[in-house]
């Protein structure tokens, strides 16, 4: 059963100009019609490069940014239609872990008051002592000793701070945790600690994760289902193994081949699909397929004019590309000659 369902979610930020009167001169299409659903107890990984709208999407689910249109259904309730106060009360069930572990902790609060704040505003726990027991338990769960209670964020290392951030979310006993780049600010040797902790907590509490990250290796490691975003839209969605073994969207292929693998033997044997150019501006996205300006398999006419729908090509595998099957079958030749069309990178 899916606990979280997004339907045609759109978040457009107005671009304002003018000194005295605000005039809206355009919109940034940060999230532009995303539909996906997250199964209870599973991990949905959302991957994409900076500017693709993945962070905005995560925040929109929690209504931390205003939703322009579309629906976010949490256990059947449309969060987009809730009043501010109703949404606020629901926040104990949907929590978030942030990218910057130091910046997301108030420097003036010690660990106890950071963790107590959520409990207080949701009226959890009878007394201070009651809450403290709960806080100490949670700290222990995330691998921090109880002597951390009276200490301040700046006194911890990056990994420990992220543990505090996880504990802050966890102490409210949420159903869903949205992890926005949970490890990208951490040292390599510490990333694994946090990833393992997230997995451990998931199996212990039956948590559902929406993990947002730019690092495909991290996302693949932790997720059951992966969605690839490009310029505000989902271009491909598949099970984690399926996506790696059989990527169908040209962008996914390029992304997979660009991720460096710490193994020279694999690196030397790999064929890279280098996509030229940069991300177009999300305030004036290209017509038709958003990726057509950089796509090595672009076909005349259709790709420039018609925006491809996300369609199911195999059970649980959705792609937004007009020519996904043809590319896989090798019927289309890519524009760059050195790209072997359709073959996944060697495992």
């Amino acid at each position: 059963m899916s606990v979280l369902e997004l339907e045609d979610l759109k978040v457009h930020f107005p671009i304002r100009s003018g000194v005295v009167f605000d005039r809206t001169v355009g919109h940034v299409h940060a999230v532009d019609g995303v539909s996906l659903s997250v199964e209870t107890g599973s991990t949905y990984g959302l991957v994409g490069e900076s500017g693709c709208g993945k962070t905005t999407l995560g925040r929109a689910v929690l209504r931390l940014v205003d939703i322009t249109s579309g629906h976010v259904r949490f256990e059947g309730t449309d969060l987009a239609g809730l009043s501010g106060e109703e949404m606020r009360r629901r926040r104990s069930r949907l929590q978030m872990v942030f990218q910057d572990p130091l910046g997301s902790l108030d420097p003036r609060q010690n660990v106890e008051s950071i963790l107590a704040e959520g409990l207080e505003v949701h009226g959890i726990g009878q007394s201070r002592a009651d809450r403290r027991t709960k806080i100490v338990d949670t700290l222990e769960r995330v691998g921090l000793a109880s002597n951390a209670l009276s200490r301040y964020p700046h006194e911890f290392s990056g990994g420990q701070r992220q543990r505090i951030g996880i504990a802050r979310a966890l102490v409210l006993e949420p159903d869903v945790i949205i992890c926005d780049e949970p490890v990208s600010a951490l040292d390599v040797s510490v990333q694994a600690q946090v990833l393992n902790l997230l997995e451990e907590l998931q199996s212990a509490f039956g948590l559902t994760y929406l993990v947002i990250a730019h690092d495909l290796a991290v996302v693949r490691h932790i997720s059951d289902v992966i969605g690839v975003m490009y310029l505000g839209g989902l271009v491909e969605e598949a099970g984690a193994d399926e996506l790696y073994a059989d990527p169908m969207h040209p962008y996914t292929k390029a992304l997979l081949s660009a991720v460096p693998i710490p193994d020279p033997v694999v690196e030397d044997a790999r064929e890279q699909i280098l996509i030229p150019g940069d991300l177009p501006s999300p305030s004036s996205p290209p017509s038709g397929c958003r990726f057509h300006t950089r796509c090595p398999w672009r076909q005349p006419e259709r790709c420039d004019t018609e925006r491809p729908e996300l369609r199911e090509v195999a059970p649980g595998h959705r792609v937004a590309c007009h020519y996904a099957e043809e590319i896989r079958a090798g019927e289309l030749r890519s524009r760059s000659a050195d790209v072997a069309a359709g073959t996944p990178p060697p495992a």
Binding site: V218, A258, P264, A347
Partner: protein, 343 residues
């Protein structure tokens, strides 16, 4: 002949009324002409400070630099600043992590590129402009003539990094130092830049010192790799050997803690415990001991030395792992059983 020799380099920051911090603690390595060398380590291991010391870019106040750095036979550290400035840009060049803050925001790209040409090559006017356009074209910036007149903020992150590379290679330097050149970039752009750097090094014969925290980045690019921990080189190896059989537990731990894209799913990560703050002084023992799974009493008495373990492979560990080549991703061997016969 070695192009660059770094011998026992140490850098100590002595802030006012603070305990001195030794960022680099006796780093030694050498680079041959045309070699691509990777300097790998996490934040705080001293890799960036090392590169700044090589370029002579450390502030003179509050910093004590020890040891020797020879570039093509010249001692860089004792060079008068005038000579050093001549050398920087023409023989030694550097690109940084953040391309936006390394470019002057109020000067057009073209002027910033021609400035190097004017300074070191004495090129002027039309000739300098043409050469600058050629350089931008060389690093893969489309429509170079127009880009010359644009300002840094008009370029995307990847284009800025390309422009910086163009400036760095303008005078065909013999050594290019790249300090985390792709960390601020997206992965598809990173692939473009790494491709460009590798291609430049190969075709122009430039030596490239690649400084990064990402083992994946060096795996495809570097001939040899030095791994740094707490200001010292702890493992030296050719790239194939390093990834096939890392001998230092830290290197092995790093490899075990990054999720690999091509690994079967569900394979558990084996993190290194603690953080970079959990360390002891090298004078007292092995700085990695507090995080090491199999340290012994020996690790806590006296500084471990770099030990040779095969052709071009050295490590600074009393109880090395993976001594039997080929057991790349095998479980860590029992340190007592394997480590006993090393020294």
């Amino acid at each position: 002949m070695a192009l660059l020799t770094v011998d026992n380099l140490s850098v100590t920051f002595t802030g006012n009324n603070q305990r001195p911090v030794r960022a680099v603690d006796g780093v030694s390595f050498g680079m041959d002409e045309g070699e691509v060398l990777g300097l790998v380590g996490e934040s705080g291991c001293g890799k960036s400070v090392t590169s700044l010391a090589l370029m002579g870019l450390l502030p003179t106040r509050g910093v004590e630099v020890g040891g020797r750095v020879h570039f093509d036979g010249t001692d860089v550290l004792s060079l008068p600043s005038r000579r050093l400035r001549d050398m920087r840009g023409s023989q030694l060049a550097m690109i940084f992590q953040d391309p936006l803050s390394s470019l002057n925001p109020v000067v057009p790209i073209g002027r910033q590129v021609t400035e190097t040409l004017r300074r070191h090559k004495g090129m002027r006017g039309r000739a300098a402009r043409d050469r600058a356009a050629e350089l931008l074209d060389r690093v893969g910036i489309p429509d170079p003539a127009r880009r010359l007149t644009e300002y840094p903020h008009q370029l995307s992150g990847g284009m800025r990094q390309r422009a910086l590379i163009a400036m760095a290679v303008a005078c065909a330097p013999r050594l290019l130092i790249a300090d985390e050149p792709t960390t601020a970039l997206d992965v598809t752009i990173q692939a473009q830049i790494l491709d460009l750097l590798g291609e430049l090094a190969r075709s122009e014969g430039t030596s490239l010192l690649m400084i990064t925290h990402d083992l994946g980045v060096v795996a495809g690019l570097c001939d040899n790799i030095n791994v740094l921990y707490a200001g010292r080189v702890i493992e030296v190896s050719s790239r194939k050997q390093l990834f096939a059989s890392p001998h230092h537990p830290y290197t092995a731990g790093l490899l075990g803690s990054v999720p690999r894209l091509d690994a079967p799913r569900g394979e558990a990560l084996t993190p290194i415990r603690g953080s970079i703050n959990d360390t002891i002084d090298w004078d007292d023992g092995c700085a990695f001991a507090p995080r090491c799974d199999h340290y012994t009493m020996e690790c806590l008495t006296g500084t471990p030395e770099l030990v040779r373990a095969g052709e071009g492979h050295q490590h600074r560990c009393v109880n090395p792992v993976n001594l039997d080549p080929g057991s790349a991703h095998a479980d860590r061997p029992d340190p007592v059983a394997e480590g006993g016969n090393v020294r």
